[in-house]
Subunit: 210 residues, 2 copies
DNA sequence: TCCCGGCCGTGACATTTGTCAGGGGCCGGA
DNA sequence: TCCGGCCCCTGACAAATGTCACGGCCGGGA
């Protein structure tokens, strides 16, 4: 596959400098791969990609500035020829769905053996799709978020803690409305608590989008 | 420091295979370092260390089976000559304190530049202590956990969600007692909620120990 | 020895939370 | 056009939560 000609150019985005560097070291061992850029924030992805023109971008989901999903969308618009491989810590079903919808070509969890990463990169570069099979099944089973937009927003805000009154003030809603949304969210998630609902929604990746 | 003689033998412990492999690649680039073992669970650290006799062990804090702190203690007992360098995602003040108390020689956050890791390993191997200065300051400021043993236990159990009745049943306590402990914990953490208290305690690393 | 603090429990109380039954406005599809 | 879904609000209710004051049991230090 690597005919000794031009290697695949990679951009790495991960907020943890240590893993970022380690991934760079790992991938640089492959002679048909070369890391041309590293960034630690989501909002640096597009500017840096413009400068370094990578073939494939490895994006973490959890990043400051802009999450990996949003960065994927932006990058697809700015550099349509650059493929995106999303690498994340959490195998949350919603993440995979959102990533694919945003235009990612692949989705890999950080649990996967290190040896497979280079292959994933090559596959993605070749125009194929790479998806963790376990996660794909789970995604289909879990389905998209059942939460309405407001419910999601309320839950997201409630994540930070605080009483109903606090939430109502922050969201410019009535306390009763906030309670109703929370109640609906609790029902839909099958939780028994507000805290429970937040945990469920978070685990499924339904709380993305800042 | 590396006289071309025997290299420093390393054991890596991290539950994320990808990061583990990447770290191995990164550290293997240094000619005075060699990775002799990799494990993905805390309870595999000691058995594997017995077999491979490493000079330095790099342990993640968040691991299944046994957390990195507990693994540190166990390793210090089993192989007193093997130094421990704790590497973690979260810069929680309590983690650093607990790690040092457990006998770790160094503590590094995954935010630190990749280039410094090898140096940290060498320092630790040389008998020096390596500590993130920012974190050290924060640790002193935050201080040890103000929570009593039972309060910690109750909070830890409450983390999983569930009502007071559930907690009481799980802990073989009366509901009133559980409420009292929770109330005390809420007061001590300066939180306004149970959920809030859990978040604060967790962020400070006061909820360790399974 | 006494005292203090952690621990366990009780009971009562105010507050917060979650639920339910309404009502009205908006928009898009049948 | 009407209907259904989402959104916002109200009001009321039961349940859960958080607080307080109280008492008793223990163990360690002054």
């Amino acid at each position: 596959m690597s005919g000794g000609s031009t290697p695949i150019r990679l951009l790495l985005a991960d907020d943890q400098a240590l893993v970022r560097g380690a991934l760079a070291a790992l991938l640089s061992l492959e002679e048909d791969l070369t890391v041309v850029a590293e960034v630690g924030r989501g909002d640096e992805v597009v500017p840096e990609a413009r400068r370094s023109a990578p073939d494939v971008a490895l994006l973490d989901v959890e990043m400051p500035g802009l999450d990996g999903i949003a960065a994927t969308s932006a990058l697809r618009v700015a550099l349509p020829t650059c493929r995106v491989l999303v690498v994340t810590t959490f195998g949350r079903p919603g993440y995979l769905r959102r990533a694919m919808e945003a235009g990612a070509s692949g989705f890999v969890v950080k649990d996967t053996p290190a040896r497979q990463l280079a292959d994933a990169v090559r596959r993605v570069h070749a125009g194929l799709r790479v998806v963790d099979p376990t996660l794909a099944a789970e995604t289909l089973a879990t389905g998209a978020s059942p939460l309405t937009e407001r419910e999601t927003e309320v839950l997201r805000t409630a994540r930070g803690g605080g009483t109903v009154a606090d939430l109502a003030r922050a969201l410019h809603l009535s306390e009763g409305t906030v309670r109703n949304h929370l109640s609906a969210a609790i029902g839909k998630t099958g939780a028994r608590n507000r805290a429970d609902a937040i945990r469920v929604a978070e685990r499924n990746g339904w709380l993305l989008g800042e």
